[in-house]
C-alpha cells in the first residue's frame, strides 16, 4: 500500500495486522464482512490506499469506478444483484462515517445464508 495511516483500523486489515472475513481482493481494493452487520449481507469494500472520505478523492482518480464495479460483482457472486442491494458511502460524522478510511457498504436484506 502506498500510504497507510498509523491508527487506521482499515489500513491494519488491508495489511493483515487485524483479522477480517475477506470475500474479495484485488490490486486496488479489499472487501470483507462488516463486524457489526446491519443486514443479512453487509460487506465493506475498502480501497487499499488510505483516503479519509469521499471528499478527499483526488481528481482523475478512478477508485470510485472500481468500487462500483466490485460492488456489482460481489452482489452477483452472492446472488443479490437482481433481488436487490444498496451501495452506500457515508461521509463525515453527520453522514454516519465511523472509520475515516473511505469505504462502501454493500447491504442486502434479500440475501439468505446458504444451508
Amino acid at each position: 500500500m502506498s500510504d497507510s495511516h498509523p491508527h487506521c483500523v482499515f489500513c491494519d486489515i488491508v495489511q493483515g495486522k487485524q483479522p477480517a472475513k475477506y470475500v474479495y481482493e484485488d490490486e486496488f481494493v479489499v472487501a470483507f464482512w462488516d463486524a457489526n452487520p446491519a443486514a443479512a449481507l453487509h460487506i465493506l469494500i475498502v480501497p487499499r490506499e488510505h483516503i479519509p472520505t469521499l471528499n478527499d478523492i483526488p481528481p482523475d482518480n478512478n477508485i470510485l469506478r472500481h468500487l462500483g464495479q466490485v460492488a456489482s460483482r460481489i452482489a452477483a457472486d452472492f446472488g443479490v444483484a437482481e433481488s436487490g442491494y444498496r451501495f452506500v458511502i457515508n461521509v463525515n460524522r453527520g453522514g454516519g462515517q465511523m472509520v475515516f478510511h473511505l469505504h462502501v457498504h454493500l447491504v442486502s436484506r434479500t440475501w439468505r445464508e446458504p444451508g
Binding site: 436487490g84 451501495f87 452506500v88 460524522r93
Partner: protein
C-alpha cells in the same frame, strides 16, 4: 425511454427543481424528501440500474464528483452526508433509471433512533432509582 419519469424530467416534459446539470447528469430535489437535504443525481443516459453500467464507464465517478460538488455548495460536505444507490426492488429502487441519493441532515429514522436511545437511558435510570429506594427501605 418514453415512459421513464426521469427521462421525462431530463427532457423537460415533467417539472423538477433542478439544482445542477451538465452534459452527463442532471440533479434535482427529491419530490418526497427523507431529509432536509435530499437530492437525486441522475445520468442523462437511460441506464436501468448500477448493474447495467458498462465496464470501464466513468458514470459512477462522475455522479460522485457531482455529489461532492453539491455537498460543498449546500454546506454539508464537512458536517456530513450520505451518498447511496438503491439497486433493484429488494434494494429499494423504485424508478428504474439509475440515480444516486445525496442525503444530509436528520431524517426521521435517525431522529426516531435518537429518541429511542434517550427514552431507554431515562427508563434505566428510573428503574435503578426505584430499585435502590426499594432495597434501602427493606434494609432499614
Amino acid at each position: 425511454m418514453d415512459d421513464c419519469i426521469f427521462c421525462k424530467i431530463i427532457r423537460g416534459e415533467l417539472p423538477a427543481r433542478k439544482i445542477y446539470e451538465d452534459e452527463t447528469t442532471v440533479a434535482f430535489w427529491d419530490l418526497r424528501p427523507a431529509s432536509p437535504v435530499h437530492v437525486l443525481i441522475v445520468p442523462r443516459k437511460h441506464v436501468p440500474t448500477l448493474n447495467d453500467i458498462p465496464r470501464g464507464d466513468h458514470l459512477i465517478s462522475h455522479m460522485c464528483d457531482v455529489a461532492k460538488k453539491l455537498a460543498q455548495d449546500l454546506g454539508v460536505a464537512q458536517s456530513g452526508y450520505r451518498f447511496f444507490i438503491n439497486v433493484n426492488r429488494g434494494g429499494g429502487q423504485v424508478i428504474f433509471h439509475l440515480h444516486a441519493h445525496l442525503v444530509a441532515g436528520n431524517d426521521f429514522g435517525t431522529l426516531f433512533i435518537k429518541a429511542g436511545i434517550a427514552i431507554a437511558v431515562l427508563w434505566r435510570k428510573l428503574v435503578s432509582l426505584v430499585c435502590r429506594d426499594g432495597a434501602s427501605q427493606k434494609g432499614s
